[in-house]
C-alpha cells in the first residue's frame, strides 16, 4: 500500500514536470509573436529594412503619432470593426444556438433532411460563392453598407454544428420537458433556461466569430468603399499599399499592434467563461 503510494507519487511528480515543460514551450510559442510584433512596432521604417533584432528601438511613439497624423481614420476604423464584429458574434451565436435547439429538441417532418443539408452546406468553400454574393449585393443595392457583412452571420453552419454537438453532450431533453410541465412557453424555455446552460459554448463561439470577423479582410474590402466605413484590416492593407512617399512599415506594425489590442481585451473578458470553470454539470442532477 505504501509502496504503491510512493510510486504513484513519483509518477505524478514526473508527469507534472513534463506537463510544465510542455506548457512552457507552448507558452513561449504563443507569446513570442507578440514580442516580435512589439519590437517591430518600436522600430522606424529604415530600421525595419535592416532585418530583425531582438531588442526594441525607440520609435514606438513616433510611429503611433505618424499613424494618427496620417489621413486614415484609424480610431473610426476600430469602432467600425468593433461594431461589425460584435454584431456578427451576437447574431451568429444566438441564431446558431436557436437553430441547433430546433434540430436537437423537436421532432418534425423534414428534420433529417435539414440537418443533413446544413452539414453539407458547411462543406462548401466560401471563396467561390463570394463572387455570386457580390453580384447579389450589387443588385440588392447593399454595396458599401454593413448589412452584407453582418446579416449572413445568422446562417453559420459551423457554429450551428458546434452548438448541436455541444447540446448532444450536455443538454438533457428531460430538462426541456420539465420546463414545459412547469408551463413555460417555448421561447421562454429557450431564452431563459437553455441559453444560460449554453454559456460556455456560446462564449467559445462568440470569441471565434468575433476574432474571425475582426481579422476579415476579403469580403469587407470588396464591399466597403467609404473611408469612414472601413474596418481595420482594410485600413492596414491601405497603409501597406501606400505610395513611396508615405510607405512606412513602422506605421504598419504599430497599426497591427494597435488592432490586436481590443481583441485581446474582448478575449480576456469572454475567456473567464471558458477557463474559469463555470459548472455546467450541476444542472444534470
Amino acid at each position: 500500500m505504501t509502496e504503491n503510494k510512493t510510486s504513484k507519487g513519483m509518477n505524478i511528480h514526473g508527469r507534472r514536470a513534463i506537463a510544465y515543460i510542455v506548457l512552457g514551450i507552448m507558452t513561449f510559442l504563443c507569446l513570442v509573436w507578440f514580442y516580435i510584433l512589439f519590437i517591430n512596432a518600436t522600430r522606424s521604417h529604415a530600421e525595419l529594412t535592416k532585418g530583425f533584432t531582438p531588442l526594441p528601438s525607440t520609435h514606438l511613439i513616433d510611429n503611433f503619432n505618424n499613424l494618427l497624423a496620417g489621413t486614415l481614420p484609424v480610431i473610426r476604423g476600430m469602432l467600425n470593426s468593433l461594431f461589425v464584429s460584435v454584431a456578427c458574434a451576437a447574431l451568429c451565436t444566438y441564431f446558431s444556438t436557436m437553430t441547433a435547439y430546433a434540430i436537437h429538441v423537436y421532432d418534425f417532418a423534414g428534420k433529417k433532411f435539414i440537418s443533413t443539408f446544413i452539414l453539407a452546406v458547411m462543406m462548401i468553400p466560401t471563396q467561390v460563392t463570394v463572387l455570386g454574393f457580390l453580384q447579389l449585393i450589387g443588385k440588392m443595392g447593399l454595396d458599401d453598407s454593413y448589412v452584407p457583412l453582418i446579416v449572413p452571420a445568422i446562417a453559420a453552419p459551423v457554429t450551428y454544428f458546434y452548438m448541436k454537438q455541444y447540446m448532444e453532450s450536455t443538454l438533457p431533453l428531460s430538462l426541456v420537458e420539465s420546463a414545459r410541465i412547469d408551463g413555460a412557453n417555448e421561447f421562454y424555455t429557450f431564452n431563459k433556461i437553455v441559453l444560460p446552460l449554453m454559456k460556455p459554448a456560446i462564449s467559445v463561439q462568440a470569441i471565434f466569430t468575433f476574432v474571425s470577423n475582426w481579422n476579415n479582410y476579403f469580403t469587407p474590402a470588396l464591399i466597403l468603399h467609404t473611408d469612414t466605413k472601413k474596418t481595420l484590416p482594410i485600413l492596414i492593407a491601405q497603409l501597406r499599399s501606400a505610395d513611396w512617399l508615405k510607405f512606412d512599415m513602422g506605421q504598419v506594425y504599430v497599426m497591427i499592434a494597435f488592432s490586436i489590442f481590443p481583441v485581446i481585451v474582448v478575449y480576456l473578458i469572454l475567456s473567464k467563461y471558458i477557463v474559469g470553470g463555470v459548472a455546467v454539470g450541476a444542472v444534470k442532477g
Partner: protein, 469 residues
Amino acid sequence: MKRKWLALGLSAVMVSGLAACGGGAASSTAPAAESTKAESTAPAAESTKAESTAAAEGTTSTLNIYCWNEEFKTRLEDHYPGYEKIDATHGKIGDVAVNFNITPNTDNAYQNNLDETLLNMDSAAADSKIDMFLVEADYALKYVDTDYTMNVKDLGITDEDISKQYKYTQDIVTDSNGNLKGLSWQGCPGVLIYNREAAKEVFGSDDPATVQEYVKDWDTFAKTADTLKEKGYNILSSVNDSYRVFSNNVSGKWVQDGKIVVDPALVNWVDNSKALVEKEETGTHALWSDDWSKGFYPDGKVFCYFGPAWMIDFSMAADTEGSIANAGGWGATVGPQGFFWGGTWICAAKDTDNADLIKDIMLKLTCDDEVMKEIVTKDNDFVNNKPVMEAMAKDESYGDAVLGGQNALAMFCEGADKIDLSNLSNYDQGCNEEFQNAMKNYFEGGMSYEEALNLFYKAVVEKYPELSY
C-alpha cells in the same frame, strides 16, 4: 441618395468649422459619425440650419475618383488651385463635390472594385457615377483599351498641350487604335545605382563614366559580376532587380494572335540571371523583402540596384545611420539599358458629367509648367515635363545627398528619352508576374527551364483563359 449627399455636405461644413479650430484627428472622426446617421439627422438639420444647407446645395455635381492610395489625393490637395479639402476623402472644387473612393491593391481588390463599377456604370445614379480613375503601367491597357475610358482628345486636350511630356508615359496609355486615353504627372525613368565604396575598391574609381564602362551592356555586366565576386560583392541583390530593365526593352508583345510569346530579351534575362545565381553573384529574393534590402547597408555587400529617383530618395534608408545612403555612398549611372519603374496615370471614365473639370485637372497637373515645378520642389517627384526636368538637370546647385552630391537628373532625363514602350499588351501584369514566379524555380534549381516555362504557361492561362501557347 440625394439626402445622403446633402448630409455629407452638411457634415462636411460642420467639420470644416471644426478643423479650422481643431486638428486633423477631429476631422477624421467627426464626419463619419454624421454620415452613418445621415438619414435620420439630415431632414431635421435642413430646416434648422439654413446656412449649412445652402453650402451643401452649392455643389451641383460630384466628381468620383477611384484610386488605391492617397498619392493622387495629396497631389490634388496640394497643387490644384481651388481645391478645398473637407475631410480625408472628400473635397470641393468650385461647385463640384470631390469624392475619393479608395480601395487598396491587396488581393487585386482595387481592380475588382473598379471592374464592377465600370461595368455597372450605366445603372449608377449620376452623382455616384465614376468620373475619374487612376491606373498603373502594368494593367493600364486593360482599362485603356476599352470604351470605358475617354479619349484625352475628346476632353479637349490637344497635342500641343501634352508636347512636353515624355513619350513613354503616353505609350503606356495609348490603346490599340492609337488613341491616347490617359495622362500622368510623373516620369519614373530609372538608372543603375551603384555602391561607390565597392566601385573604388574594385575598379579603382567611383566616377560614373568609369563605372558605366563596366556595366554598359549585359555581357560586360556579367563579366563585371565575376570581378566583383572575387572581392566579395554580389553585383545585384536579386535577379528581380534587373527584370524590368529587360522587360522594358522587348522586341514584341507578350501575346501575339492569342498565343503567349516569350521575347528573346526575357530569355536573355533568364540566361543571365541563371548564370549569376549559379555563381552566387546574386540572390532570388522578392523585392522589398528583408533579404533584398540588406544591400542598403555596407555589410550587405551588394554592388548595385536598378531604380528610379523615388527609390533613391525614399526607399534606401537614407535616414538611418550606418546605411550607405546616409553616408551619401551611392552613385548613379545609366546602366545597360533604359527602363522605368512606377508611375500613376489619370483616366477619365466615359459618360462623366464633369468632363471640363477633368480636363482642367489633367492640364494643371500634367501639363502646367508652374504646377509641375512646384511638384518637383515640394514632393521631389520626377515630373512628366521635359523642359522642367532638363532645366533642373542643368542646375549646378541641385545635387542629391544620397548620391554624394551627384546631380543625376541628366541621366534620368536621358533614360526617360530612351524608353520604348510600343510593345505593351493587355496581359503584361499577369505575364510579367508569372514569368518571374515560374523562373524562380529554375534559378533555385528545383526545375528545368522547360518545366519552369510550362509552369509559366499554365499560370498565365489560368489568369487569361482565352490565351494558348
